[in-house]
Structures are given as structure tokens and as C-alpha cells.
């Protein structure tokens, strides 16, 4: 039985959420908090597998509450809130940055899918290992490397699912403005949040963030490319990317597998593919194709990822050659370029060459 605490100032919302969550019989609402101040004692009292957190609350709001919970009694937090999570809002991403695993809109009883999605997300995130947040903890583990002008691989493709947006932010926030390759990011999230996510990332990175639409786009080194509305990302040729308005692949649009395959076909070994936190199988097949083509393939360390399913599967299947934390992935990308640039301008034989680089990085 999955045990949940609801934090929401609206008594009616708490009633409805309880009804929706408990509908299948495998989730039990064991406690409720009516505001942010009540949340920590309720969580300490009930020790739930997951907390659903509203954002708009009087007094201590949801963002402040997430921060306070993660610094005192860390627990998986799913933000479940109202219409402020619209296309123009970065609230959900700020919540993730503070320690929430994911966010979604409150369900409507007229939309069976919204209720099913909420329960599925609670099941996926309940019990996920989360850690005490300490200020600057990540910063202290960061390492600095000299940045070259020429890239060792010509493109970086990143697939991210549930809980992964924080890792995307960590990686992009750690890359210098003169990073030598374009970076394509496929983040699984409701389409209406994709532009808000791009906007949020732009606030965190010195790299330029571009939304890829149907018209072919000439990408340049250091540009972060994200899919536009309802489209896959596809490279018809080197240096050119388009938004492909096609049917979802294996239920996903954008699909990480379509991105990775496209990168494998166009760039071959001259690429780096990365799978971050998430659930499901999207991207696994594509990452394996990319590895077969000789590209460097990395997975976020399952012990550090917010949700370990997909990166763990990538390691188990051999699609990823190495598991690293998000910060280490960023360090690896930067240092790989530096080392490759000092040795040769030819396309790298990535796995072998990086083995040396990875050797001096701390292993999990």
C-alpha cells in the first residue's frame, strides 16, 4: 500500500484528491496538512511514501514548503496544483529545483485520463530515494576544466523523463557558454509545459535555448535545442535539425528513441547520447542504436537519479556504457572536449578515449 500525505489549503481539493488517489485501492491517504507550516510535522508523523504538494497556499507557500521539507524530512514530493502551471509559468520547474520530483495539474473528475495519470505518477515516484538537501552540496563537488574551442563530438543528445528536469538543469547550468557542440534535450512532460521549460532553462544557462519547429534549423555549437509543440526532433543532416510532426512513437512525442536513432544515422560515432532519470522504455532502443554506431552513451547513475527505472535499464541492457551523476556527466562533457582538443581534431573514438578521462573522476 502506498502511503500519501496531501498538502493543500483547500479542504475540497483534499477531499477530491483523496477520492481520486484511493480509487484503485493501492494508495492510502494517511495524513493531510492544510498549509506549509503543518506539512513538516505531518510528514514526520506519518512518514509517507509520497507527498502531494499544492503551490498556492497562504503563509508559507508550496515552494518554501518543499525547501523546508527537503532540508528536514526529505520525502518524494509530487506537486499537484492549479492553473498557474500554465505555459508561461516556471513554478513547476522551480519546485523541481528545490527538490520536488515532478509536477502536474490538479485532476478534473470529467477527465478520467487526468485521474489515471495522477495515480500512475504517485506509483512511479512513491518510495523513490531522496536525499537531505544541503546548501551548495552539489557546488562543492563541482570541478573546473579548461574549455577548448573545438568539440570532440559534434552533438549531444539528452533524454529525460520523470524527475529528470533537475538533472537537465544541472548539466546545462554547468556547461560554459563556449561549449563546442549543440545539445538536444527531449524532456518527457505535457506539451503545454514545454515552452515554459525552455524559458526556465534559459534562465539557468548561458547557452542559447531554442525551440525547434517544423522549419529546418541550422544549429550551432553551444545551442540548446528543444522540441516544439507535438513534434519529434530529427536531424536530416549534420548541423540541421527539424521538428517532425508525426505520430507518437511507443506512446511518446517527442520520442527519445527517434532522436537517438536520428543522431546515430546522421552523426554515427561523432555523438554523445545521455539518458537521465525517468520511467518507461523510451530512449533505450535508440541509445542502444547510438552505442552500436560507436557513440559515447551515458546514463544518470541509478543511485543518484530521482527515478532510477530508465537509467538502470539503460545500464542493464548495455545501451549506456557508463553511469554518472548529473554533475559528473556535465564535467565529463566539458573535460572530454578539453582532452580531445588537446590531442587531435579528428572525430574521437569516444568510449576508449573517454575511459582515460573517466578514470580520474570519482566513481559511484
Amino acid at each position: 500500500m502506498i502511503r500519501v500525505v496531501i498538502v493543500d489549503d483547500s479542504s475540497l481539493s483534499r477531499m477530491i484528491l483523496t477520492k481520486v488517489l484511493e480509487a484503485d485501492g493501492d494508495i492510502k491517504v494517511v495524513g493531510q496538512a492544510t498549509n506549509g507550516f503543518e506539512a513538516v510535522p505531518r510528514i514526520q508523523e506519518h512518514k509517507p511514501d509520497l507527498v502531494t504538494m499544492d503551490i498556492d497556499m497562504p503563509g508559507q507557500n508550496g515552494l518554501e514548503t518543499i525547501e523546508s521539507v527537503m532540508r528536514t524530512s526529505p520525502v518524494p514530493i509530487l506537486v499537484v496544483t492549479g492553473e498557474r502551471l500554465g505555459p508561461e509559468s516556471d513554478l513547476g520547474f522551480r519546485a523541481i529545483q528545490l527538490g520536488a520530483l515532478d509536477f502536474m495539474s490538479k485532476p478534473s473528475i470529467a477527465d478520467e485520463g487526468s485521474m489515471t495519470r495522477l495515480r500512475a505518477q504517485v506509483r512511479a515516484l512513491a518510495g523513490v530515494p531522496v536525499f537531505l538537501h544541503k546548501a551548495d552540496a552539489e557546488e562543492s563537488g563541482r570541478r573546473n576544466y579548461a574549455i577548448p574551442e573545438a568539440p570532440p563530438f559534434s552533438v549531444v543528445a539528452i533524454a529525460s523523463g520523470a524527475g529528470g528536469s533537475k538533472s537537465v538543469a544541472t548539466i546545462l547550468g554547468s556547461l560554459p557558454s563556449n561549449f563546442g557542440a549543440p545539445i538536444v534535450v527531449v524532456q518527457q512532460m505535457p506539451d503545454r509545459f514545454s515552452h515554459a521549460f525552455a524559458k526556465y532553462l534559459q534562465g539557468l544557462t548561458s547557452l542559447r535555448v531554442t525551440t525547434v519547429e517544423a522549419m529546418p534549423h541550422d544549429c550551432f555549437p553551444g545551442e540548446v535545442l528543444m522540441p516544439g509543440s507535438d513534434s519529434h526532433v530529427y536531424f536530416p543532416r549534420r548541423g540541421v535539425v527539424v521538428g517532425l510532426n508525426a505520430e507518437p512513437y511507443a506512446g511518446q512525442r517527442p520520442s527519445a528513441t527517434i532522436l537517438f536513432r536520428s543522431v546515430a544515422e546522421t552523426y554515427g560515432s561523432d555523438a554523445c547520447g545521455i539518458i537521465l532519470s525517468g520511467t518507461g522504455t523510451d530512449g533505450l532502443e535508440g541509445l542502444a542504436t547510438l552505442r552500436s554506431a560507436g557513440a559515447l552513451t551515458l546514463a544518470e547513475s541509478p543511485t543518484a537519479a530521482a527515478v532510477a527505472d530508465t537509467p538502470a535499464a539503460a545500464m542493464k541492457s548495455g545501451a549506456a556504457s557508463r553511469a554518472l551523476t548529473a554533475q559528473m556527466i556535465a564535467n565529463c562533457l566539458v573535460s572530454a572536449m578539453a582532452a580531445m582538443n588537446s590531442k587531435t581534431t579528428a572525430p574521437p573514438s569516444n568510449d576508449a578515449s573517454l575511459q582515460n578521462l573517466l578514470g580520474d573522476l570519482p566513481r559511484k
Partner: protein, 103 residues
Amino acid sequence: MVSIMELRESFRAPFLQLAWQRYTRIVESLGKGEKGEVSELRSAASELHCLSGEASMLDFKNVAELARVGEKAAREGDRAQVTKLVTEIHTALKSIEAEGSSG
């Protein structure tokens, strides 16, 4: 398996009870004088935000939309528009009440 209609019906009474409380507080906010108008409108915006969210969860679309637009008007300081929309919310809540009685 509980149907959507049954689910909505089971929440109609608590929704209306809470919605009328919010409505009363909004009207009180708007009825206050010029002094503190900004903070009163902010308070009305907060109530309208909650009302919109609750109505949306129960698929009372009309109330959800009126409250959403009302919240926006309140945040923009458009007192006249808020007053007009609150009148429409009153009518919409009465209609939900009537649906419940006739059902």
C-alpha cells in the same frame, strides 16, 4: 466503479458550501472602501483563484472560467470588471444549486 456523474454529485454540496463562503468574502472585499483597495483586490484574487481551481476539478466549467477571468481582472486592479464577473458567478452558482435540487 463510481461514474463521473456520481463523483461530481457527491462533491456538489461541499463545493457549493465552500463556493458561497468564498463568494461572500469576495463581495465583502469589493464592498470595502477606497482605502486598502489594492490589498482587498488581492484578497479577492486569491479567493477567485481557489474557486476557479475547485470548480475546475469538478468540471463546473462556467464557474471555473468566470473565476479565472475574475482573478486576472483583480490582479490587474480592474475593480469594475471583477464586480461584473462576481455577479455572473452568483448566477452560475445558483444554476449549479438548481441542477442539484432537480437531479
